[in-house]
């Protein structure tokens, strides 16, 4: 596997008039990595992608590909290939012509193009489909053709702009695996844009979580999930229960937080915020639904939460209990289904227990929209 070509964003600002789409982004993407920008729509992640591919000049700062500054270099001269959100396959060209468009531009003969197209069609598991039109393919097949077309240009960096968003769930899950495998096979750097945290977590080596033009956290998936740096990252990636309050006491890497309605709870301070949280600060504490478990009703303590059950649902692999939570948000608890019988507790108080290491405290901040 080749080392691949890295991409660096240095102090990148992108403005549209008064609107700041990207605010001082600093990202180092290692060569050969599968790197994702994760964020809700409108957070500026596509703007970053367009700046890397060359369709947009940054207002300030630099884009470096393989250490070379890309300032003033057009999209057709950059070693990048972009897979568009709607794929942008040329509707009037056959599949093989689509795939080898970059070779046509370079002046390759039709025979060479055919040959290369057949190789790539084999790679994306669509052998013998070269003579079809894109409109005659299914969504997943079109997806793969778009990937083959981008790979045919032999880019150093492949940019993907939410390419799976138009597919149905099953196909999306299948394509995740496939994309990851293709990336490992070709060994080039992939930069992936998505609002789907599942996609980001399953495929990426590293993820940048973005919110309103700002990058909140850059880390691998596990770190982001277990040790989020901001309230936004904690609430956007995966399901999370939030407890609002103030820091009552700091004990090393742990903090006792006086929550608004669940009493004083003990929590770990997230790595990025250690030493930055002081007594009296507004804080937020997050506990994942699967980190909560049932405890004897009425148990008191700094890792017990008591609340009233609103309703329950059965999801197959787990029972979900929804309880009255903080700030209008419900508290969700997922109890794994081991075949135990389950009684409906709606309207009753229930006590939950958690391991302090599974709770994480961050300074109060904006939460992701539901």
């Amino acid at each position: 596997m080749s080392a691949g070509v890295g991409v660096d964003l240095e102090n990148l600002w992108i403005r549209f008039g008064d609107f700041v789409a990207v605010r001082d982004a600093n990202v180092h993407i290692k060569g050969g990595d599968f790197f994702s920008f994760l964020g809700p729509s409108g957070c500026g992640k596509t703007t970053i992608l367009r700046a890397v591919s060359g369709f947009l000049e940054p207002s300030e700062g630099n884009v470096l590909i393989g250490g070379n500054n890309m300032k003033g270099i057009g999209p057709n001269k950059r070693p990048t290939a972009l897979i568009f959100q709607n794929l942008a396959l040329f509707p009037l060209m056959k599949v093989w012509e689509n795939i080898t468009f970059s070779m046509e531009i370079a002046g390759a003969s039709a025979r060479d193009r055919r040959k290369r197209a057949d190789e790539l069609l084999d790679m994306i598991a669509l052998p013998g489909q070269g003579d079809k039109l894109p409109s005659e393919l299914s969504g997943g097949q079109r997806q793969r053709v778009a990937i083959a077309r981008a790979l045919c240009a032999e880019p150093d960096v492949l940019l993907l702009d939410e390419p799976l968003s138009a597919l149905d769930l099953k196909l999306r899950q299948h394509m995740r695996t496939e994309l990851r495998e293709i990336q490992k096979r070709v060994g080039i750097t992939f930069i992936y844009i998505t609002h789907d945290q599942g996609e980001a977590l399953t495929m990426s080596d590293d993820i940048a979580v973005m919110r309103a033009g700002v990058i909140d956290q850059i880390a691998d998936g596990k770190t982001i999930y277990n040790d989020p740096a901001t309230a936004f990252a904690a609430s956007f990636v995966g399901e999370n229960n939030v407890f609002r309050g103030k820091v009552l006491e700091v004990r090393g890497d742990q903090a006792l937080i006086r929550t608004n309605r669940s009493g004083d709870l003990l929590s770990r301070i997230s790595t990025a915020n250690q030493g930055k949280m002081n007594v009296g600060d507004d804080a937020m504490m997050f506990i994942r639904p699967e980190a909560l478990s049932l405890a004897p009703t009425g148990t008191q303590g700094d890792h017990f939460v008591t609340a009233k059950v609103n309703h329950e649902e059965f999801e197959g692999n787990s029972f979900n209990i929804f309880m009255e939570g903080d700030g209008g948000k419900e508290l969700k608890v997922a109890i794994p289904n081991h075949g135990q019988s389950f009684d409906d507790h709606s309207g009753q108080d229930m006590t939950l227990e958690y391991d302090v290491h599974n709770a994480v405290a961050v300074p109060a901040g904006e939460l992701a929209a539901e």
Partner: protein, 425 residues
């Protein structure tokens, strides 16, 4: 129930009237092209003839007009489609705030009367010509150039409307994809945008050609030494029209219908092919493409064959079939008829005169005051001015002429509209 029926019947009646209104004149004009009288008329039907087509193709001015129209048409197509495409591209790329204004400006020529466009074209280029110090025979005052420029001023707007409609469906990401894959802007335009725009460009070209071909208002000021077909026709009609013009009209109608049918068949074929391809998905996995029937595959070719056969039959029969005999027969018949009538009239008048003379003789001079309706009865009406004229006439007018001869004034048939046509014979 009955109201239902009434509604249904009235819809059919309405449709009948509607189509009669639309197509009736065309059908009648087409029919007159095959009738032998020298004034275009359908009744009375005299002789089937193809002579008017021959006449048409012997008419130097008409042929020259067609040729000029084609030249102007092609020039206009090239100029207005390219201007229309540029305008359409501009419209999609201009700042949204300016778009409405830009649109109004670029559409304005359609709303301006063609006469105004013609005059202004003439005046404008004449000024330019003088400013450059060129003579009256320079390129800028050439009729072909002026006509193409003048027509394009508004035909380009039509083209733009057609092209904009297609361009709005274009996904700009396709151009970006091409750029991203290494294409230059020119390559992206040529290889991605142009093929996408092709159907609209072809429609715009056809539209431009037809608009140019039929244009009169603008051209009448600019044609110079290149009179187009419409100009020639207008000038010809001033001296009376002949069925040769009907023949031209018939050919234009036939060609239009033919191309419309071909187009329709082509669209159907494309649909069928697309469906066949979709159905063939499973078959294609095995590397097979089913060959649909010849007819479903190429109705356009079949239509072409039908046209060729039709033209060949018509030409062949026109070559072998000669209406001369028929025309001669009709003329002979008319001559005989006229003679017969003259004879009848003569006899009748002679008889009347005899009767009157007898009655006068019987009553003596008692009825002196009785008027004498015809003083020249003894001559049998041969000196009636109209009877003489009718002898030379070879069309149906002679019937009326003869029948109404006693009522006719001394002006003879000069006010008869057919008399004009008769002069040509």
């Amino acid at each position: 129930m009955t109201t239902d029926k009434i509604i249904r019947v009235s819809i059919w009646v309405y449709l009948g009237i509607f189509f009669a209104y639309l197509l009736g004149p065309l059908i009648i004009m087409s029919a007159t092209a095959f009738n032998s009288p020298s004034f275009p008329r359908m009744t009375p039907w005299e002789c089937l003839t193809f002579n008017w087509f021959g006449e048409l193709f012997r008419d130097e001015r008409i042929l020259n007009g067609i040729w000029n129209s084609i030249l102007v048409g092609f020039g206009t197509v090239i100029l207005s489609v390219s201007m229309g495409l540029a305008g359409a591209l501009m419209l999609t790329q201009i700042w949204p705030k300016l778009r409405a204004t830009y649109y109004t400006i670029i559409i304005a020529p359609i709303l301006i009367p063609g006469v105004v466009l013609g005059i202004s074209t003439l005046v404008f280029w004449d000024r330019i010509n003088r400013m450059l110090g060129l003579g009256a025979d320079s390129f800028l005052s050439n009729g072909l150039f002026l006509t193409i420029i003048g027509q394009s001023t508004f035909i380009a707007s039509y083209c733009m409307l057609v092209l904009v409609a297609r361009l709005q469906r274009y996904d700009i990401a396709l151009t970006e994809a091409a750029l991203d894959l290494g294409a230059t802007h020119a390559q992206a335009f040529r290889k991605v945008l142009m093929p996408f725009m092709m159907p609209a460009i072809l429609s715009a070209a056809v539209l431009a050609f037809l608009a140019s071909f039929e244009n009169y208002n603008t051209t009448t000021f600019t044609f110079g030494e290149y009179p187009t077909l419409t100009i020639e026709l207008a000038q010809k009609v001033r001296y009376g029209i002949t069925p040769a013009i009907s023949a031209l009209a018939f050919m234009i109608v036939a060609l239009t219908v033919f191309f419309a049918l071909v187009n329709e068949a082509n669209i159907k074929r494309k649909k069928m092919v697309a469906e066949a391809r979709k159905d063939a998905t499973v078959g294609e996995l095995a590397g097979k493409i089913e060959v649909p029937g010849l007819i479903s595959r190429n109705p356009a070719a079949i239509a072409l064959i039908v046209l060729v056969i039709g033209v060949a039959t018509v030409t062949a029969s026109a070559m072998t079939y000669s209406p001369d005999q028929c025309i001669a027969d009709v003329q002979e018949q008319k001559r005989l008829e006229t003679e017969k009538r003259i004879q009848e009239l003569r006899d009748r008048r002679a008889k009347e005169a005899a009767e009157k003379a007898a009655a006068e003789g019987a009553e003596g001079g008692a009825t002196q005051t009785a008027p004498k309706p015809s003083n020249n009865s003894g001559f049998g009406g041969v000196f009636a001015p109209n009877t003489l004229q009718n002898e030379g006439a070879d069309d149906g007018a002679s019937d009326e002429g003869a029948a109404g001869s006693s009522n006719n004034s001394g002006f003879g048939n000069v006010f008869d509209p057919n008399a004009l046509g008769n002069d040509n014979n």
